[in-house]
Subunit: 247 residues, 2 copies
DNA sequence: TCAAAAGTGTTCTTATTACACCCATGG
DNA sequence: CCATGGGTGTAATAAGAACACTTTTGA
């Protein structure tokens, strides 16, 4: 067993990419680092995995310390392990990504939480360590996920309008010209995933929109079985000639 | 920095799930373990990541020692890190999966290679460590990949028949009643991914089939952009009533 | 001449796209 | 009465599904 001693000198961390949706904009929760390395830089929340802790548990712990939330969507994305990615030694990190309702989030007492702030994903350009790369990979994963699972459920408040839902899809899929309103509605309503609440917005300076919620049961069914959400962006005149593709 | 010493006592390995396709059957390359733990059991090929080695490099090294192949399809799948998964201590493993042409494979001089053998994926029931779980996760990944990338290119010999290609899809997707021959051909040919070689099989006791190869350029294009391969299995009478789904 | 697998088209149904105007509210 | 975003339908096209018989070869 001594021949292996050399290998037992490394550590691993988990880093969480926590996505939220607010004001029509996809956000990610970042921490301003208070210590070296990368002191003063923004980073993904993460920490060493304890010796007796499973990976998923570690990710859930960090999420909880930071947001107070449990039982939220949390999935492993990818592991990053370049030799020199961490100045303390060989540290690989297992990246997780989670989807939370920003409305449920509240600042927690844990010290790291005080340095946390939501950032627009589109405006994040530089992060500590290789965290920008991790964020990019997670965003790609989310782009895939949105076409295959009803992720709106995780990101929107309990009551929402169809336009809000559409904006969520646009924020994630980033189609050049947005999605076609009528086609979007037809498609999403035909899935029978939404429940019409017979309520409307109040206090808006235009015709108030109807409010919907997700059908819990249908949601779980789609969560297991998946679905296919494919919609071309609207109004593009110039036709691209890809014979058959998405992704 | 001493506060972190406690964390630098773990190790990580990579494990490779190497898929091949032969005789209409999806195979995986396994090693019979010569030492404890799990001596005598079948396991995925894998080893500790060297202190100065990137993860992808480690996976490629193991694949190469075993098969002699480089530049083959190799992608990270998922990391497995349950606390007690390895009897030597805290060892997490980063699982990779790769796709190889069995015809290119030859036994290598490395000692592990001598204990290697192809097994039908469907018939593998028990493996060392948590390797069965890793195999299952990788197979799931392959099921997804086949619908989204032209993986046949990686698994089939340079020349192949349409029926062989269809059998590959059936081996991976496992539809209850196989795929419809005409619909399969129509779809795959309409992608312009295949090149008709103007050759036919020889020495078969039935009408010889035409041979095809993949169009390298189209393949790389699809590899980047993805495509959508959705075909219902053939001839199911009983109609399932999923409003809209696959996966 | 038989067995075995190759090869081939059409019809029907369903999903996707493109597209433009009226409506309800607050200021 | 105006600005703002909400809400609605239809026709054309494209993709997918179902389905059965003839051909070519070796034994």
């Amino acid at each position: 067993m001594t021949e292996f001693d050399n290998y037992f000198k490394s550590a691993f961390t988990v880093d969480n990419v926590i996505f939220g949706f607010d004001e029509g904009d996809l956000k990610v929760l970042l921490i301003k680092r208070g210590e070296e390395p990368y002191k003063g830089k923004w980073a993904l929340p993460g920490y060493f995995v304890h010796p007796n802790e499973d990976l998923d548990r570690a990710a859930a712990r960090i999420l909880e310390e930071l947001t107070g939330l449990h039982h939220v969507f949390l999935e492993q994305v990818k592991t990053f392990g370049t030799v020199n990615r961490h100045p303390f030694g060989r540290v690989i990190t297992i990246a997780y990504f989670s989807l939370v309702k920003i409305s449920d989030y509240s600042i927690q007492p844990a010290s790291i939480a005080k340095k946390a702030q939501w950032h627009s994903v589109a405006k994040v350009h530089e992060l500590a360590f290789d965290h920008k790369e991790i964020l990019d990979a997670s965003f790609q994963r989310l782009k895939w996920l949105v076409r295959v699972r009803p992720v709106g459920f995780e990101l929107l408040p309990p009551k929402f309008t169809l336009t809000e839902l559409q904006h969520l899809y646009e924020a994630i899929l980033e189609p050049d010209d947005g999605l076609d309103k009528r086609n979007f509605r037809k498609k999403i309503l035909s899935m029978n995933l939404l429940v019409d609440l017979d309520e409307t917005q109040e206090g808006v300076a235009h015709r108030p929109a109807k409010l919907y919620r997700f059908d819990q049961e249908k949601y779980h069914k789609f969560q297991e079985e998946g679905f296919s959400f494919e919609l071309k962006e609207s109004k593009r005149k110039e036709k691209k000639k890809h014979s058959k593709l998405h992704v």
